[in-house]
């Protein structure tokens, strides 16, 4: 993979091959068994017979991060645990994704105290946030399905990496969604001002 990764520009041939790779990836996500707190129990329940997260989606839990490509951060990340979370994330091989499960992993949850990191996105980059305290297993399902939608767009052999690429992709999605709802006028306006619609309304800029 290293030989062909990032070498080609986007064209019809590479997108089809990309699609094939991504289809394989999203249909067999192997997740790292990493439950921290209460959300871990719901994560375990989701992989148990009633909800069956593992078998139906081709997901399998691995105990070691070296063999995993998805990390569910399920539970509160404390300051004592945060370096470990980062180490585990670094040990995972690309391509890797992170689902932040539950309010503690999203924003620190009900624990705004001296010992808790207010959100795991201060430690690792997060792809999908699943809200809830704890989220129902059905909610976790929804998060996984959204992640699968994201995985299918992952561009392996065409050149796109990093946070900037994610921003561009998000803007493109937004423009496409607006165009689908209101026609093409909104799409033209957004692309002319150069700001994404969220930034235009809140004035929030991300570097």
């Amino acid at each position: 993979m290293g030989l062909i990764e990032g070498k080609f520009e986007k064209n019809v041939l590479t997108t089809s091959v990309d699609w094939l790779f991504n289809w394989g990836r999203r249909s067999s996500l192997w997740w790292l068994q990493f439950g921290l707190a209460c959300c871990a129990i719901e994560m375990i329940s989701a992989s148990m017979p009633r909800f069956d997260l593992s078998e139906r989606f081709g997901m399998l839990y691995r105990a070691t991060p070296r063999q995993a490509d998805l990390m569910f951060v399920a539970g509160t990340v404390t300051k004592k645990m945060a370096p470990t979370v980062r180490t585990l994330y670094d040990q995972m091989a690309d391509p890797k994704w992170v689902i932040s499960m539950g309010s503690c992993a999203n924003v620190g949850g009900p624990f705004d105290t001296y010992a808790v990191v207010q959100g795991v996105d201060q430690v690792v980059p997060v792809d999908v946030y699943v809200p809830g305290c704890p989220p129902l297993p059905e909610g976790l399902y929804y998060g996984v399905l959204e992640l699968q939608n994201k995985v299918i767009k992952y561009e392996t052999i065409a050149k796109q990496h990093g946070v900037a690429a994610a921003d561009i992709e998000r803007d493109q999605d937004r423009i496409a969604a607006r165009a689908a709802i209101t026609g093409t006028d909104a799409a033209i306006v957004s692309s002319q001002t150069g700001l994404s619609s969220r930034e235009a309304t809140t004035g929030l800029r991300r570097d």
């Binding site: 945060a82 980062r86 105290t113 001296y114 207010q118 201060q122 997060v126």
Partner: protein, 239 residues
């Protein structure tokens, strides 16, 4: 003890589901002989009074009748500073220097046998009184008598408190937690280091009253440039 439908005849008796009465060492069995009197005496259905029923789970609520207090006053005299009763609870304030001897006495006296420590914690009395700052609270339980007892010892900020690890093994971790949360040093503890917070935590002792709930510093992952920004940065210094 509980009985279940018997398993197949071919199974070894050891592997049966039923659990029999303990075949304890006879000395231990004698010391742990249950109950001098039952805690409650229930026959049939009764009306429940919606006021909390003070049920005598801590012993008689009278200094002159409670065997532990009588024993303590006889043995230790004025190391027993104060006895209070609230609901059905008995609290004895003792002099800190003799805390370990008092606990040893309570544990070993055959009539009392407060052999189990339920809880060992501290309260920071900063907002309520000036000296001493902390109150170390020890809750003991006597299995034969089914009674609890609470001991309180005042500890000043720089004063070490005698350890109870020589008396009860459970005090090991409970005292470590007290040290971690309050900064109370237990003199003679074999392994006093931080437990619930990281061992090199340098921001103080959190459960003190002058420690802000949100703490002093935010966590910053070194080398991670993509930390998601928060819309409202709540101030942390002394919040």
């Amino acid at each position: 003890m509980s009985q279940n439908p018997a398993p197949d005849a071919g199974t070894p008796p050891d592997a049966q589901e039923t659990t029999q009465l303990p075949a304890l060492d006879t000395q231990v069995a004698a010391e742990l002989a249950p109950v001098i009197e039952p805690a409650t005496d229930q026959t049939g259905v009764q009306e429940i009074n919606p006021v909390w029923v003070y049920s005598g789970y801590w012993g008689p609520l009278d200094e002159a009748q409670h065997p532990a207090i009588i024993g303590l006053r006889a043995q230790f005299g004025d190391a027993i500073e104060e006895v209070t009763f609230f609901r059905d609870e008995v609290t004895v304030r003792v002099r800190t220097e003799q805390l370990a001897e008092i606990c040893t006495f309570l544990r070993d006296t055959p009539d009392l046998k407060y052999q189990m420590v339920s809880d060992l914690t501290a309260v920071d009395m900063l907002n309520l009184r000036s000296e001493p700052r902390f109150d170390v609270v020890v809750t003991l339980y006597s299995i034969p008598r089914r009674w609890r007892l609470r001991l309180k010892a005042g500890v000043r900020e720089d004063q070490p408190c005698p350890t109870l690890t020589t008396v009860y093994a459970a005090a090991g971790w409970l005292e470590r937690e007290c040290y971690d949360m309050f900064g109370i040093v237990f003199a003679g503890h074999p392994d006093l280091r931080r437990m619930l917070l990281a061992e090199d935590w340098d921001e103080g002792h959190p459960l003190r009253k002058d420690y802000p709930m949100r703490g002093y510093k935010q966590y910053v992952q070194p080398g991670f440039a993509g930390a998601a920004p928060r819309i409202r940065e709540t101030p942390r210094e002394g919040a």
